[in-house]
């Protein structure tokens, strides 16, 4: 594979602007340089076959049918040096601690509002604020047990936090499976380099969930609640339930008795459930309090949770902090609750709720990315530099009609990494989603899921919109050196 002409228009994760590999990526690039195009193609084929055989799929709804697709996997891993990763992980720990304190505060005394650090008006209009959660104190004071934060790197090499997914973040199974594929394809590199393992996650997740059991002492009964086979992440639900050895349940498998205890329907009769890792959105969780027509959830579940008879991860209402507008306050939360300076900077943001910032946004629509507060999957965004005049006018009207619902960020020059092109490596934009588990301590995955835009120049990495994935290596340069 010929790297001599590989250049990126921005920061590249593997190759510096002088065309030389970055230190952590040097063994990888030297190794790849020694492989012929045919050998590489063979390995890519082997990777694709492995992925298909392992059944790594996500479900896409198209033409009225659900189709299982494999997530495109690019062979060339993304490499992060260990020391950089440790700094990043410390920043992620700090963020999630502040976020959990914020959620607890919002459903408790609302000190941050009384101290005028967080505007009351924003809280009032938050669609993810759940009145039913006010006054609840979940075990260990943790609301968001599982968080998936998206990180991006700008052209100057700075790593920014882009958003924190505190509702039902997905993708961790791809992180683990990508590693399994990479190990089969590049066994030589794993033997010679100090690549940190990632497969500890299911065990860590199990411990996180088990710690929440309302019946400490007994072996807890833990279940993963899935919306079912038509959900795009169903493969992941199966994968996680299987790797943890817990039950995979659907709403119909559970019921809440008159004793406010949650039970599974089993062939032996009802069996008490202690902890539910729910992959069903808040609003479908309990028809008694949320969407009354929902069949995905369990009637009475919130009642049972409030009584402390079952633990839910993540706790209902945690999404109040998973909002692109609330996101802009995370640095202030870190200072307010922890008295620390943020380690990981936020992507700079403008709040349309604020008259001055709104005026700036409306004047600079052509150079900003405008996002609605509560969309995910990359939908409903305006990418200013690539927009038409008509789209900009449409967003101007949307913002003016509902300023609380919009925020804007400068268009970052997202970093790239090489993917295996037809003839040579080609640069593609990417991001990184580490997963953070909160219990008494905080666990951060080693690296995370690297999502890559497979289309040239595209900035959208979401799997539902043609994105792919790469294995992510945290490499220790000191070990064995």
């Amino acid at each position: 594979m010929d790297w001599t002409r590989y250049r990126s228009s921005t920061w590249d994760e593997l190759v510096g602007s002088d065309g030389q590999p970055r230190p952590a990526a040097r063994p990888l690039i030297e190794y790849l340089s020694g492989l012929s195009r045919r050998e590489l193609a063979e390995r890519q084929l082997a990777a694709d076959v492995t992925a298909r055989v392992m059944g790594i799929t996500f479900t896409v709804y198209s033409e009225g049918r659900n189709v299982d697709r494999t997530l495109p996997f690019d062979l060339i891993p993304r490499v992060i040096e260990r020391r950089e990763w440790e700094r990043t992980a410390a920043g992620l720990r700090q963020r999630i601690q502040a976020l959990n304190l914020f959620i607890g505060d919002i459903y408790g005394k609302q000190k941050i509002v009384k101290d005028k650090v967080f505007p009351r008006a924003l809280l009032k209009e938050s669609v993810n604020f759940r009145q039913q959660c006010v006054g609840v104190t979940p075990p260990l004071g943790v609301w968001a047990h599982i968080c998936g934060s998206d990180l991006v790197r700008d052209g100057d090499g700075t790593l920014y936090a882009l958003e924190d997914n505190l509702r039902i973040p997905s993708g961790v199974s791809y992180m683990i499976e990508n590693r399994m594929v990479a190990k089969r394809v590049f066994p030589e590199l794993f033997e010679t380099s100090a690549i940190r393992p990632v497969d500890d996650y299911p065990a860590q997740l199990y411990d996180t969930l088990a710690a929440l059991s309302p019946r400490p002492g007994d072996t807890p009964v833990i279940a993963l609640l899935t919306p079912g086979i038509y959900n795009s992440a169903y493969f992941e639900h199966c994968f996680l339930a299987q790797s943890m050895g817990i039950e995979l349940v659907e709403g119909g498998d559970l019921f809440v008795g008159d004793d406010d205890v949650c039970y599974m329907r089993t062939v032996y009769g009802p069996k008490r459930v202690d902890v539910i890792y729910r992959r069903v959105d808040d609003s479908f969780l309990d028809p008694e309090v949320f969407q009354p027509e929902s069949v995905l959830g369990v009637r009475g579940l919130i009642r049972c949770w409030r009584a402390g008879n079952v633990a839910l991860a993540n706790a209902p209402g945690a999404g109040v902090a998973d909002d692109k507008v609330v996101f802009t306050f995370v640095p202030k939360m870190i200072k307010y609750y922890l008295g620390e300076e943020p380690i990981l900077p936020n992507v700079p943001s403008y709040l349309c709720h604020d008259a001055k910032e709104r005026a700036y946004v409306l004047d600079h629509l052509h150079e900003l990315v405008v996002k609605p507060a509560n969309e995910s999957g990359g939908y409903g965004m305006l990418i200013g530099p690539r927009s038409t005049k008509r789209q900009r006018e449409q967003f101007r009207a949307l913002i003016e009609a509902n300023p609380r619902n919009y925020m804007a960020q400068p268009t970052l020059s997202l970093s790239t990494a090489p993917i295996l092109g037809e003839k040579a490596p080609e640069a593609r934009h990417l991001d990184l989603r580490p997963f953070i588990l909160s219990r008494e301590d905080v666990y951060v995955t080693t690296g995370g899921l690297t999502r890559v835009a497979m289309k040239k120049n595209s900035l959208v990495v979401n799997s539902s919109q043609g994105g792919g994935a790469k294995d992510t290596w945290v490499v220790d340069l000191e070990e064995g050196a």
């Binding site: 079912g228 599974m264 329907r265 089993t266 062939v267 009769g269």
Partner: protein, 312 residues
């Protein structure tokens, strides 16, 4: 074991067993037809009824019409509008497996998915006589492969008991339905006096469809008669597709499951019925009424299992 998962395992196993039986039935029908002299013709309709697809069939081609053999076979095997076709049955098994994938061996999914893709891609082959044998052989092989994967690779936990239970009930039911079809007359001689002449041939093909002919010869060492065929298919204690054998298997499974009185009661009624059956009398008077009663009892047993374990 979640009730829903148990339900799915039970039905998965039933569907796989059903697909295999349907394929065998069509295969034997196709072979038999080639052996028939001009004086007789093969009646496909009882086979359609075996699948419980009679009404569907009438709606599909219009009552009273005489569809060609290729049309009937197409209807039974691959017609997308017939949910009871082989294709529909395999599709159901696959859909169910999607929902319980995490509890079953990965190879099982690969085998069922391959079979599903083969049927989808090869639907046209099934209609043509030249390719039909190859098509059906592949289907039967795949079903047996799944059964083998289950019996060699699945732990003998409670879930496995539901897989076994599904297969046993389905086979008992299919065997009784196939006897029923045979009794209704698979061969229709053009002259009424030829009925006797074709009777043995007909029962021989029924035994073949249940892979029972060879075992029948080995154990009974006699020419095929209606009485002996009924004796063998209904009451043989050693042949695994006989109704009594399937019931004995259920009897061995039930103590390994949480005890439920309605299931025990329904089981005893099915067993009693088969136990008391007299093949000689059934051969003389025609076994159709008896088979109907048996199917009602098996349905009641299924209902009791459903209520006791799957509703939760």
């Amino acid at each position: 074991m979640l009730s829903r998962v148990a339900d799915n395992l039970y039905w998965f196993s039933r569907y796989v067993r059903r697909a295999e039986n349907v394929a065998r039935l069509v295969e034997v029908g196709s072979q038999l037809q080639l052996d028939l002299p001009r004086a007789a013709r093969f009646a496909w309709r009882p086979l359609v009824d075996t699948l419980g697809a009679g009404e569907e069939f009438d709606r599909w081609h219009g009552e009273g019409a005489t569809p060609s053999e290729a049309e009937v076979v197409r209807f039974m095997l691959v017609e997308p509008d017939n949910p009871l076709s082989l294709r529909g049955v395999v599709g159901n098994a696959r859909e169910i497996l999607r929902t319980v994938r995490e509890t079953m061996p990965q190879d099982c999914w690969v085998a069922i998915n391959d079979l599903h893709l083969y049927i989808e891609a090869g639907a046209e082959r099934a209609g043509s006589r030249r390719h039909r044998h190859e098509f059906l052989a592949r289907v039967i092989d795949s079903c047996l492969r799944v059964s083998a994967l289950l019996s060699t690779n699945v732990s003998r936990d409670i879930g496995y008991q539901f897989l076994r239970l599904g297969a046993a009930i389905e086979q008992a039911d299919m065997t009784s339905r196939i006897i029923d079809a045979a009794a209704a007359g698979l061969i229709q001689p053009r002259a009424a006096e030829d009925v006797e002449a074709f009777r043995a041939m007909q029962w021989m093909s029924v035994l073949q469809s249940l892979a029972a002919y060879q075992m029948y010869r080995r154990h009974l060492r006699q020419r095929v008669s209606v009485e002996l065929a009924l004796q063998f298919l209904l009451k043989d204690r050693e042949f695994p597709r006989s109704v009594l054998f399937c019931l004995a298997r259920i009897q061995a499974i039930l103590p390994q499951m949480p005890p439920r009185r309605p299931v025990q009661q329904a089981f005893r009624r099915s067993l009693g019925l088969v136990f008391d059956a007299d093949p000689a009398k059934l051969a003389a008077s025609g076994p159709c009424d008896f088979m109907d009663r048996l199917q009602v009892e098996l349905a009641a047993l299924h209902g009791a299992i459903h209520e006791s374990y799957f509703v939760g």
